[in-house]
């Protein structure tokens, strides 16, 4: 298992459900570490179906978005799928403006997202 300081990971029916430690994902050092921990879920821990639950996350910068794009590609390369859920309205708007809502599969709740993995 890889070391995790910026995320907490739980298993739900074979899906790695990831929650964030930080309410504001801004500091560049933390974002680098976050990116490494997320990618390690796929490369070290061999998880390919991932759900990022944004409950409690109030803010994230464009540097954090870049880490999510990398993770999405890693999950796809591993034959899995990345989904996002529980985005507050303002953060969802950022995905819409940047058109990253076309890149990511965004679900309203964790239950919706977990169900989508089982289909």
């Amino acid at each position: 298992m890889s070391t995790k300081r910026r995320i907490v990971v739980a298993d739900a029916n074979g899906v790695a459900v990831v929650r964030f430690v930080d309410r504001k994902i801004v500091d560049s050092g933390n974002i680098e570490q976050l990116g490494e921990e997320l990618v390690a879920l796929v490369t070290t821990d061999k998880k390919s179906n991932l759900l990022l639950n944004f409950e409690g996350v109030e803010f994230l910068s464009s540097a954090a978005l870049n880490k999510l794009i990398s993770l999405n590609n890693k999950a796809k390369q591993a034959g899995g799928k990345l989904r996002l859920c529980n985005l507050r309205a303002e953060i969802k708007e950022v995905f819409t403006i940047t058109k990253l809502d076309r890149v990511f599969d965004i679900r309203k709740t964790e239950a919706d997202a977990i169900d989508a993995f089982q289909l």
């Binding site: 560049s28 803010f59 464009s62 540097a63 870049n66 990253l100």
Partner: protein, 147 residues
């Protein structure tokens, strides 16, 4: 953008270190809270300032701590005006690739500037491209009746 009724003004010059910049952003967010700014407008300002300051430190000043980022925040209950400048060479803000084009959608550059433009009411760069001025006019739905 002249305005003579600002109720809170902060002008500071900080080293190109993100921790210093985030302290300034926290001061701005606290001032916005005291003035009753909330919801989407508050988030939009936070996002635009975060992106502008990170760009100034990382792309403008190349993370050299001896180079300064100059920050001016001016707030009233209705408007927020922000100026961020760095000591870098500047950039050609008129010819940035559109990060929402299909071919650039997953590239790591250009989203910050695009978000600043989309989220603020007005965004202007100086000719050199090393200073940005941003204005946010508070949305009608965000203003509470007692103000």
């Amino acid at each position: 953008m002249p305005h003579n009724s600002w109720t809170w003004v902060l002008e500071k010059s900080v080293a190109s270190v993100t921790d210093n910049a985030h302290e300034l952003i926290e001061e701005l967010m606290s001032a916005l809270d005291r003035m009753g700014w909330g919801g989407r407008d508050r988030f939009h300002i936070h996002m635009a300032v975060e992106e502008a300051i990170v760009n100034a430190i990382e792309h403008g000043n190349q993370r050299m701590p001896e180079k300064k980022v100059d920050v001016v925040f001016k707030l009233s209950p209705e408007k927020a005006w922000i100026r961020i400048s760095d000591q870098g060479k500047g950039f050609d803000f008129q010819h940035l690739p559109d990060p929402t084009d299909e071919e650039h959608l997953e590239e790591p550059h250009g989203r910050g500037v695009m978000l600043m433009r989309e989220l603020m009411s007005d965004v202007r760069y100086n000719k050199r491209g090393n200073a940005v001025e941003m204005l946010k006019i508070r949305s009608a739905e965000e203003q509470t009746p007692e103000e």
